[in-house]
């Protein structure tokens, strides 16, 4: 069990910044530290399920974060005292220029997709997952993810420029 705990510490250390980015991109930045805290707690509670392979462990952690987000969307809110430390962190302020308006249009188009479809697009294009890995994070078959992703892009192509619609 000791090695498993060390493995989880390593996995959390390797992915914590990316997990924070993931949560900040999908919810209010002020809530992201609490959601990250909940993600960490759930990960420790499910220590026995931690995959041995580091990349699989990373997928597993993102899957947990997604579950926390879904609970959050259902109205489950927790405040973590330690999250206040993160909330006041200077580096959590945006370090790059805010996206131009055209990006807001794109994000809006993504948000109008069916939720699972939108999340698939975000995982691939915002978080850098392959479609196969995104499917694992979402807990769906890769074949389903591929067809859903293609359908999402068709819809986005139409939404963003009707002139090039098939």
């Amino acid at each position: 069990m000791g090695s498993r705990k060390r493995a989880l510490r390593s996995a959390l250390e390797a992915s914590s910044v990316d997990l924070l980015s993931y949560l900040r991109r999908r919810t209010d930045s002020d809530e992201a530290p609490d959601l990250l805290g909940e993600t960490f707690v759930v990960a420790w509670r499910r220590l026995d399920d931690l995959p041995e392979e580091p990349e699989q462990a990373r997928m597993w952690l993102f899957g947990i974060a997604r579950g926390v987000l879904l609970n959050h969307a259902r109205g489950v809110h927790r405040r973590w005292a330690l999250a206040d430390r993160l909330r006041g962190h200077a580096v959590l302020a945006p370090v790059t220029a805010p996206p131009a308006d055209e990006h807001l249009d794109v994000r809006d188009a993504i948000s109008r997709l069916e939720p699972d479809m939108a999340e698939l697009v975000r995982l691939v294009h915002w978080d850098g997952f392959s479609i196969t890995d995104a499917a694992q994070v979402m807990g769906i078959p890769a074949s389903t993810a591929r067809s859903r992703y293609q359908r999402a892009k068709e819809l986005l192509r139409v939404a963003l420029d009707p002139a090039v619609a098939p």
Binding site: V41, V42, A81, R85, V106, W126, L156
Partner: protein, 219 residues
């Protein structure tokens, strides 16, 4: 604006909100949070419950001297003199008690490993908890609502026949009322301690131990 598939890919990728910039300070704080989450997971892992016969009048008391089930359970050495003792009765009638001890954090290394202060020396925060009457601060009903909203399709907290509380894999029947309430009280107590820690001396990081034991079910 013309969209080829490649162009659409670029548009989608560029639409990502700004990512979080890493820094040594942030990584340190994240390591601290990960370490504290482990403590918090243990506090949730062995939840508590309030006496059903007295409604929600929880017997949340401080200090080992007021614990009522001392002779019933086989406590670990650290729990012989806890900073918080919480006796309660499950809806099914089983007697339970939770015991919590808190310790200051002496150091946290770069891997997030926590070294706690000497357990033999009470910390100011431990003395603070011992001096409090927290009964009115545990918002159990709010916690019940939260617990009922949890996804239990993978696992949930259950009160085992042997008297321990543990995460168990999901079952067809799902958590019992005992399980739900136990998890809710665990949350409520943890929230009380975390709230006290946040307010103590401008914000206090702590680590701790928690144990909850219930009467065994007669076989």
């Amino acid at each position: 604006m013309t969209h080829t598939p490649d162009h659409l890919d670029v548009l989608l990728t560029n639409s990502a909100p700004a990512e979080t910039a890493s820094s040594p300070g942030l990584r340190h704080d994240l390591a601290v949070m990960a370490a504290e989450a482990r403590t918090a997971s243990r506090l949730r892992r062995r939840p508590l419950r309030v006496a059903a016969t007295a409604g929600l009048a929880a017997l949340l008391v401080s200090g080992a001297g007021t614990a009522v089930a001392a002779s019933v359970f086989d406590w670990a050495p650290w729990a012989q003199d806890p900073d918080l003792a919480y006796p309660f009765i499950l809806p099914s009638g089983r007697a339970c008690e939770a015991r919590v001890a808190v310790y200051d954090i002496e150091s946290i290394d770069t891997n997030g490993a926590v070294t706690r202060s000497d357990p033999a020396n009470d910390s100011d925060f431990a003395r603070h908890l011992r001096a409090l009457d927290l009964v009115d601060q545990a918002d159990v009903q709010a916690s019940i609502t939260e617990v009922r909203q949890r996804d239990t399709s993978v696992s949930y907290v259950a009160v085992l026949p042997e008297g321990d509380l543990e995460d168990v894999h999901a079952t067809q029947s799902g958590p019992t009322e005992d399980d739900v309430y136990a998890a809710a009280v665990s949350n409520a107590v943890r929230d009380v301690i975390n709230a006290e820690a946040a307010a103590f001396d401008g914000g206090h990081d702590y680590t701790g131990e928690e144990s909850i034991l219930c009467e065994k079910v007669a076989s």
